[in-house]
């Protein structure tokens, strides 16, 4: 199907991609842990919608599997697990930003600008503006995930940053026609492993240090 602005096929995938990017900004804007987890769950659901829509448009049933995995893991399982974790650990609910909300939002816009600068030269000539926008959005989501890991001191927020980074990768991947299902499945498995490892690390930090503030870890490096 030919995709261009004005056709519903492109418009809807474009809007869903933009929604995922918007949720990345919401993640950086929120201060409370519960709200961050909610935003992450909504982002996972939007990502699932984007994958399902691409599956419908491209006629690729494999993408429906991706959508189901994304919804099950990112919109339901991981947020629930994180909530349980917070309840079990009795964490206080405020996120401590390593630098201010305003500064991290400014940095986020800077990163979107950076991804535009990166995408423009490599798509010069031959590629439609549409692919360029999709690539820009996906790359921005990846970079904002990294920023969320840097801008937050709390280990749970950092885990969420890592997972949104992976959301950006999936978003970029589902837009490309003909991606094999094996890649999808292995990525999904990877994400679950990442979540498990992250949870173990969080528990370890908690047990050893009695806090989830990762800035304390600097003292444990042994090179000071």
């Amino acid at each position: 199907m030919m995709m261009s602005f004005g056709t519903p096929a492109y418009d809807i995938s474009h809007l869903l991609g933009g929604g995922v990017l918007l949720l990345s900004f919401v993640l950086l804007y929120q201060r409370r842990l519960g709200a961050v987890i909610n935003a992450f769950a909504v982002q996972g659901a939007l990502l699932a919608c984007a994958a399902a829509w691409q599956g419908f448009v491209q006629g690729a049933p494999g993408l429906y599997v991706t959508a189901v995995i994304a919804f099950g893991a990112k919109a339901v399982a991981i947020p629930l697990a994180l909530r349980l974790l917070i309840g079990r650990l009795g964490l206080h609910k405020a996120v401590e930003p390593a630098f201010g909300i305003g500064a991290s939002l400014l940095a986020a816009i800077g990163l979107v600008g950076l991804s535009v600068m990166v995408v423009l030269p490599i798509t010069a000539g031959g590629v439609t503006p549409l692919a360029r926008v999709d690539l820009t959005i996906a790359l921005s989501v990846v970079l904002l995930g990294m920023l969320a890991m840097i801008a937050r001191r709390n280990a749970i927020s950092q885990v969420i940053g890592l997972l949104t980074l992976e959301n950006g990768l999936i978003l970029g991947a589902v837009g490309v026609t003909g991606m094999p299902l094996v890649v999808e499945l292995s990525t999904a498995a990877l994400v679950l492993m990442v979540a498990v490892v992250a949870a173990v690390v969080v528990f370890q930090i908690r047990d050893r240090l009695d806090t989830l503030d990762t800035s304390i870890l600097d003292r444990q490096r042994g090179d000071a």
Partner: protein
């Protein structure tokens, strides 16, 4: 001739509607919170009562206190006259430019802040300072949203934008979604609604808009109330004109089309009022020091929308 008639009908419609919009939002909010609520026409009654009363001014009030209410109400009414409601091709249509509307709103805001500062009371000065610091972020956000529309429609004229969006060639754009969110956030701040300000409070620590009109009374208070009602109507009508342009009657003499357009406009405004009331009932007021973050986020969303549009359209 037809253009002048449309314009007159438009002005009559929005002037009648403005106090009802405020009253309607208050009534809807009251219903959602389980209270009975005042009748939606209550603001009209208040206005008529206040207009009959003589203003009481402080001893040291200068001509600014006397003139500012008229300037603010006139500027807001002029801006509202430019936003199309039920039909296109109004007499002032060539002037209906988003930048001009932003300028008229800024003029009204300056008059309000000056009136707050004039008598020299602490609350007035505090409210004026807050209003201006919010405006420093809200105005650029509005202009960035206008920039997004201008890149897509090729014009900052509100009529041109509405016509372009109505014919559907633009499609659904992420940038428009971002511009809509930015516009809603700015509108919430401009109209002093929750979460930025509480329109119902007279609690000194939290108020912004109310602090500036605390000294006003009688006729002047009526004008301030009218100006804020007109401003709320303007923002809802602006969002309706840009994002819900369907059903508006085309330019020319068409009484039936006008009637349909007017009914649809009332319906759109009712939906927007309901959305505003639901939004306000659902969330709490934020701290004053968080408002710059909120508006800064709106500004950044405007920038983001413009960047994405720039990537997708201007560099083919």
């Amino acid at each position: 001739m037809t253009a002048a008639l449309t314009q007159l009908l438009h002005i009559a419609l929005v002037l009648c509607a403005a106090p009802v919009v405020v009253g309607g939002v208050r009534w809807l909010k009251a219903r959602m919170m389980g209270r009975v609520g005042a009748h939606p026409l209550q603001p009209w009654r208040d206005l008529l009562k206040l207009l009959r009363k003589r203003p009481v001014l402080a001893d040291n009030a200068s001509w600014i206190s006397r003139g500012a209410p008229y300037v603010a109400a006139a500027a807001t009414a002029a801006a509202l006259a430019l936003v199309p409601s039920f039909a296109r091709g109004m007499g002032f249509a060539p002037l209906s430019d988003l930048v001009l509307i932003a300028g008229l709103l800024a003029l009204g805001r300056v008059a309000l802040a000056l009136a707050g500062l004039d008598v020299g009371t602490a609350f007035g000065g505090l409210g004026a300072a807050r209003e201006m610091s919010f405006a420093a972020l809200a105005e650029p956000a509005l202009l960035l949203a206008a920039l997004c529309f201008a890149i897509l429609a090729g014009t900052t004229s509100l009529e041109g934008i509405a016509v372009t969006f109505q014919d559907g060639s633009v499609g659904l754009r992420v940038s428009l979604m971002l511009a809509l969110i930015a516009l809603c956030a700015v509108g919430v701040a401009e109209n002093a609604r929750i979460p930025v300000d509480n329109p119902a409070t007279h609690l000194e620590l939290t108020m912004v808009h109310e602090a500036m009109v605390l000294e006003a009374s009688g006729r002047h208070l009526a004008l301030w109330e009218a100006a804020s009602a007109l401003k709320l109507t303007l923002w809802l009508a602006l969002i309706a004109a840009v994002f819900l342009p369907f059903g508006t009657a085309p330019a020319g003499f068409a009484p039936l089309g006008w009637l349909i357009g007017a009914v649809l406009w009332v319906a759109k405004m009712a939906v927007l009022c309901l959305a505003l009331a639901a939004f306000e009932s659902a969330i709490a007021k934020m701290r004053v020091f968080r408002v710059p973050e909120f508006l800064g986020a709106a500004l950044l969303l405007g920038v983001l929308g413009a960047i994405l549009l720039f990537v997708s359209t201007r560099l083919a």
